[in-house]
Symmetry: C2
Subunit: 106 residues, 2 copies
DNA sequence: ACTATATTTCTAGAAATATCGAAATATTAG
DNA sequence: CTAATATTTCGATATTTCTAGAAATATAGT
């Protein structure tokens, strides 16, 4: 994980639709969900959903594996942990809130 | 922090330029940095940089306070912790990598 | 081969975003 | 008030992204 990849992941997860899909897959666990089930659950037109899942796939956030006519989608293991580790290490101050100037004061 | 706000934050941090700015401000700590210094450091045209800082401001990721002719920018305390807490709670499986089907096998 | 189901690819219009120069605004100094 | 500095706003263009219908592809069953 580096800044470039992190930005890519953040950008992909930054779409409300894709974040919903991703969260759904997280909840579904290792077995994941079939595209059709995601579609029925989120009520998104198939072509639109396919577009978003494809993007999540390119970025490596989601994996797909075919089982007969269906495509099972699941979150790629470890990717979120890597991202969070990066964010914690590189994008958190370590400073306490109290260290900051209080811009809300009159 | 909820899904909507999280998506907003992720989307904003998903721009390579804005992520660089944010990381620079994180490193700068509570005192933050002046816009001009960020500009000289990242070599971005002033108007472009201003646009990105404005977006980070709207989203609440960055705060600005004027001191004379200069505008000090700093990361908004706590926001990143909130985001990471959300991601950890809502977007991490808790499953171990080994629980997933190995799609890399032959 | 034919049919049904599952999903993707193609296509295109609309909306959002990025980029950056030029002009405008805010602030300080003299 | 004028000049200089710091930053934003405006305006215009280029690019990306979103959305979803229509057509294409893949698979399974008969």
């Amino acid at each position: 994980m580096n800044e470039e990849i992190a930005a890519k992941c953040l950008s992909e997860l930054g779409s409300p639709t894709r974040l919903s899909v991703f969260r759904l897959l997280v909840k579904a666990g290792p077995d994941g969900m079939v595209v059709g089930d995601i579609q029925r659950r989120l009520q998104i037109p198939a072509s639109t959903l396919s577009h978003h899942i494809a993007r999540l796939s390119w970025t490596g956030l989601v994996e797909q594996r075919r089982q007969g006519r269906q495509l099972h989608c699941s979150t790629r293991p470890g990717i979120m942990d890597d991202l969070i580790t990066f964010l914690t290490a590189e994008c958190c101050t370590g400073f306490d809130t109290a260290d900051y100037a209080d811009t809300t004061a009159a």
